[in-house]
Symmetry: C2
Subunit: 767 residues, 2 copies
């Protein structure tokens, strides 16, 4: 991407921040020494923290450096100073630089890990955090909110950092704009590696938020350029823009389940970014547009296959005269010179329209204001497999002008005027994920102010070589879309380790307990057949597989009275295969911690019998499973079944993202066979997924007070098919959510109540 | 004001637009020649319109000039080319200059008199209207909406123009921002003389509006500097700011009944302006603040005696999460270094709060959001007569910080912290209306970014001489607040003419009719005593006084059957004194035109008897009286009385601004004794004034179906005192509006129904 710019930037960085030989360099090894060094620091001072673990330390770094002589706080060796425990860093003053620190194994006691202010009287300006890592420095309780980097003041910079693994509430990085001290900030957020950030299950999982709904009129001028957003799956908004005049340039959005969302604020520039999806995910999105005056140019989209909110270009309907915190109408937005390769229906308009709900929602919630004075021009759409619907319009698009957009499929969309032209052209693969037409399509439209779109995605001068789409020919220099070495530090990586899992044979309950404890994450415990009488709960705090060595003869784990079977800890991944789990109805089979479930767990159960438990799976409040998959298993004679129903705050959260229950039997589960619940509603996340397919339910639900066999209240995505229900004494088998397209398919029911579809769920609005 | 800047500007003007000797100068005298000259014009062309009247002409002036060689369209002699009749001017292109034209005696057939675009494909950029006059070029029907100057495009200029006497609906000058072509406009509106603009009676009478509620997020950067707003009385907003980053500098607001209102939009600069009121008016306001990020500095306020919306500094409460078209909360606003001399309670906060109406208004109308992070610092308040309430807070002001504000009165306001200091200091009169402290008060507060307030009202460097207040000492150079010669053209004036009114004796009906016709505006007709039998309606289209020559023997005007008495035409001012008007119940005594009442009329009746008419005064729809005053007169034996009740559209309009009925008697008026009506409601204007004082009503209202003797529905200001009501067979005498503070005082009632107070009027919201 625009390599000359990058070089310029690196050069600038080199000269301006290269250590300057100064009279005053202090090397410190204790908190007291650090404090004293900070107290004594002057322009040009350098404070070096000795290598090692710095535990439970709250650093307040303040001082007044100068442009030529900043005050520097750094690690003795980059990456060898770790900040751990209950710790944080606040900076206040001018021309301060912090570098080379590694935050891990801990969390902040305040609302932020790194904060560009000490307090309201001491903000940071012209200061910089660089070459640092914040690595799973997440709150023990996922429901506790924090931010990992808070930018305040003006002219600050966050660069070359890795920020990974935030699983609790709150945007990872947040720019604050409240107060004149924080507007016109010109912050630089550049060359960072963000993510992966795991799915959060509910709102407040943005990777970057700039402003809030109260600053939608505020000039920000934050520059977010050349960052790598790597599987940032926290929620539907990877970036939530909530202020004006921000620039997003040359960033990579790699397989991130969300979009760059222009939620509030106006006049943003989104230029030269790369959005990469894949064949499997409908959750990876592109750019979602709300508000006025944005320019979206030179972006490259590959395999973005999402729909509505998550389409490559999602243009929302606004609320007429919208309240400050809701949806303004889209006006005066320009989308030009973008390329869409193998994206599904990349242009979607009127997204979020809910005119049909005007009888059930207040007028101030009805999104009926269509885009006005919007221009789509010179965009290129290519699909290797024909996509005849480049445009999806959920509402009228009369306010959108199309000019000189080219696609290679026949266009059967409602919108098929002369501005969307089908043309025969070929593309060529230039590098990984990058396809470029074999020749320039030079018939471009010259819109108002289009002369300001000077270059293409790779920085080529459009006055010399021009074409529809993000890339013009010839491409000179390096055509790689992603050069990972540009982003984050050089000394930290989230790449998978090289550990080779071991298979460990187990033949007694005692050895099961001890081997489980000593196993390395990834190991497989194989159990000889026979009965294992377990007297202590099995703790799962790593990825472990427990499997019978003889597929035909299942090992039986028999849990003593009152002893919980498995206890899932943060990041625990439990694979059970070919086992039999037995209780005596006094214990739960699989339970989460009742607090401090800081990170998600996963559960995969295959060919396994589970019987005589108080509950099969029980998730405590604030716990979250990314995936629970039960396949080819039987659940029998239990008091309750699978309980994922503790998020009752009506704030849009839920206990599990994906629940697959397939090819299994449920027999004599007395109540709550499955209770998978989402309270409240907003549109910030995937909203839960239930696949209930090809199962048989017999004699279940007789003690259930709800009268419902399967409870899936508020879960957005449901596949309910090919199941058999027999002799279940319930009023209804399930209530499906019509608005979300849920419907039962090919289920067989006898003596078991009905499956009902409710079009509009009764919901408490969250705002 | 900042004279060096003015000089610089004039110099720039001189060089850049001074006529350049060009090859191509065309003098045109017909519309066809003009069209041809425009068609042939090139950069550097000058088109000269020959002196004379150009009637019914719609000029489309287009072309592409250059910065060095604009295309000029001008009058042969400045002011000697008049554009009359049904005419207008549209310009489109680049570097066009129009100068020296005079629009009068007509109106535009379109929505604008001068428009900086020909159509949406041909906007003006870098173009200029200068040294022109638009003089009462108002629509025949006041209810027809237009603008006199519409600015579109970018970098256009309106300067040295006089724009006077708009009496119909619509802001005088309007800047449009819808569409990317019109944002970042950097228009210059400078050195103009705006006004007088008469009271409109209802909304839509702004002198300048920049944007609308749909552009409240849009960057405008219009510069409004060095203009003279002269009695701009159209409505409560002299200027309605509805976009961002506009600047208002060094303007004079002279006895203008309204305020500079930051209605929508943010981050405006209001610096170095002068607001001048007087002892008599509570309608002349200052600055009304809504929204975020404004800086209000170096302004001088003299005798601003308004309250609430019309106070010198009115800071409104917002609506939480306000809809786009309502009231955002005030945040991050700075008010510093302003001077308030003889203003009444200049600082008013929480203006517009209506928390007490939360049961009768929808939540989206409740203004409960108080100002936040607002700073008032270094302001100076001086009152020759002690004002102990510099601050009025209609709601809590916890979000406002006060620093180093000084006043010379004891402060008994609720807000009386250390930031508002009483101090003994003196002021000296330096020039007309300008009072300055005798020495600098140098203890100033240094707030965030205060170093950007570099100069004072007169341009003195605050780094060299600083003081609280708008003016620092010493003042060097010319200390005049107003130098009228700076504003508008040199060849046009609205100053009163030197005509000396004549007194004309009249002794017969015939001579009355003819002398009235030939009289000059201002003349006085004196009638000998006796009976004048009038067979033709007397037309009043100028200011005329009709008076009996012998005060003791009233002349009697007796109108023939079916002949209306007086017919009021636009701008008609009728003074009747010591007369007797008589009808035979078949005619109206005084009536307006039934259409095309383009301008206001006035009516002053003194010591006069009016009897036996169908109606006494009857105003047709769209007619408007500035003042109707009846004093010491008697009205007797009429079918109806005073009918000012035709504005029934519920849009906030009404038929008369001031109605004074004093020391008079009403006897046997059968219905509608007084019906003074305002339908609908908004806060854009004075809202009508009724003074009903010391009158006697006897045997009136017996045929009135309303059951009300005096009808004043929707009129905002009512003085209802010292009247006597006797034997009027009505249910109620009047209903007064409690919320507006209306109450009866010292009235005597017998056998006449009651006076009732209704706290909250039932109103239809207009938005």
């Amino acid at each position: 991407m625009k390599k000359s710019l990058i070089l310029l930037f690196l050069t600038f960085t080199f000269f301006s921040y290269q250590e300057i030989l100064t009279a005053q360099t202090s090397k410190v090894s204790t908190q007291a020494e650090l404090q004293e060094a900070i107290f004594n620091a002057k322009a040009g001072s350098e404070i070096i923290m000795k290598n090692g673990v710095w535990n439970d330390i709250q650093i307040k770094f303040y001082g007044e450096g100068t442009k030529e002589n900043p005050i520097i706080l750094r690690a003795e060796t980059a990456g060898k100073v770790t900040i751990e425990g209950v710790s944080n860093l606040r900076i206040g003053g001018k021309y301060l630089v912090v570098k080379d620190l590694h935050f891990k194994n801990g969390h902040t006691p305040t609302k932020s890990v790194i904060q560009f202010k000490i307090n309201n009287d001491s903000l940071a300006n012209y200061s910089r955090i660089t070459n640092c890592v914040i690595d799973e420095f997440t709150q023990p309780n996922r429901e506790d909110t924090d931010h990992w980097v808070e930018l305040w003041g003006r002219h600050n910079q966050l660069d070359h950092c890795n920020i990974v693994g935030k699983s609790n509430f709150g945007p990872t990085v947040r720019v604050f704009l409240n107060g004149n001290e924080n507007v016109y900030n010109y912050h630089q957020i550049v060359f960072n590696h963000f993510g992966p950030r795991p799915r959060k299950g509910g709102p407040h999982g943005e990777t970057l938020q700039i402003g809030d709904s109260y600053t939608s009129m505020t000039p920000s001028y934050t520059n977010v350029s050349n960052n790598f957003f790597d599987k940032c799956n926290g929620e539907v908004e990877i970036i939530s823009n909530k202020s004006n005049f921000n620039e997003y340039r040359n960033n990579i959005f790699f397989e991130s389940e969300g979009s760059l969302v222009l939620r509030h604020g106006n006049y943003c520039t989104i230029d030269g970014n790369v959005f990469i999806g894949n064949d499997n995910s409908e959750f990876i999105g592109g750019i979602r547009v709300i508000n006025t005056g944005h320019w979206i140019t030179n972006n490259y989209f590959y395999k973005i296959r999402g729909n509505e909110f998550r389409s490559a270009l999602a243009v929302m309907n606004g609320i007429p005269k919208s309240p400050l915190n809701r949806y303004n109408q889209v006006t005066d937005v320009v989308v030009a010179y973008n390329t869409y390769i193998d994206c599904k229906s990349p242009f979607q308009f009127g997204v979020g329209t809910n005119i049909d709900k005007k009888d059930v929602l207040p007028a101030s919630e009805i999104r009926s204001a269509r885009p006005e004075r919007m221009l789509l021009a010179n965009n290129l759409v290519f699909n290797h497999e024909e996509d005849q619907y480049p445009v999806v319009n959920y509402d009228d698009v009369g306010g959108v002008t199309f000019k000189n957009n080219y696609l290679n499929s026949e266009n059967k969309s409602d919108v098929s005027n002369d501005g969307i032209r089908t043309s025969v052209f070929e593309v060529k693969k230039i590098s990984k994920d990058l396809y470029v037409p074999t020749k320039n399509q030079e018939d471009v439209y010259h819109g108002f102010d289009f002369e300001t779109i000077k270059t293409d995605l790779f920085g080529a001068d459009r006055q010399k070589q021009n074409s529809v789409g993000a890339i013009t020919l010839p491409i000179t220099g390096n055509p790689l879309l992603i050069q990972k070495e540009l982003y984050g530090t050089k000394w930290f990586s989230t790449e998978a380790s090289n550990y080779k899992p071991k298979t460990i044979a187990v033949s007694s309950a005692k050895s099961l307990v001890s081997k489980l404890k000593s196993a390395h994450s990834g190991d497989i415990l194989t159990l000889n057949s026979g009965v294992y009488k377990i007297n202590a709960t099995l703790i799962i705090d790593k990825n472990v597989t427990i499997i019978s060595s003889d597929k035909g003869k299942k090992a039986e784990l028999r849990f003593a009275t009152g002893v919980t079977g498995f206890e899932m800890h943060p990041k625990g991944v439990l694979n059970l295969e070919n086992l039999s789990l037995k209780g005596d109805k006094t214990q739960d089979a699989i339970v989460t911690l009742d607090k401090n479930m800081s990170k998600a767990f996963n559960l995969f159960i295959k060919n396994t019998e589970i019987s005589k438990f108080k509950s099969v799976i029980k998730a405590y409040k604030a716990s979250f499973a990314d995936t629970i998959a039960i396949d080819n298993s039987s659940i029998k004679d239990c008091l309750t079944g699978i309980l994922l129903n503790t998020e009752i705050d009506a704030k849009g959260d839920y206990n599990a993202e994906f629940v697959f229950i397939t090819n299994s039997t449920f027999d004599q589960v007395q109540s709550s066979v499955l209770n998978y619940y989402r309270g409240g509603y907003d549109e910030s996340c995937i909203g839960g997924n239930l696949v209930l397919k090809n199962n048989t339910f017999t004699n279940c639900g007789k003690a259930d007070e709800s009268g419902l066999l399967i409870q899936n209240h508020g879960i957005v995505n449901v596949d309910f098919s090919d199941n058999t229900f027999k002799d279940n004494p319930v009023k209804e088998i399930a209530v499906l959510w019509g608005e979300k397209g849920q419907k039962p398919v090919n289920n067989t029911m006898s003596n078991s109540g009905e499956i009902r579809i409710e079009q509009n769920l009764k919901q408490k609005l969250m705002y």
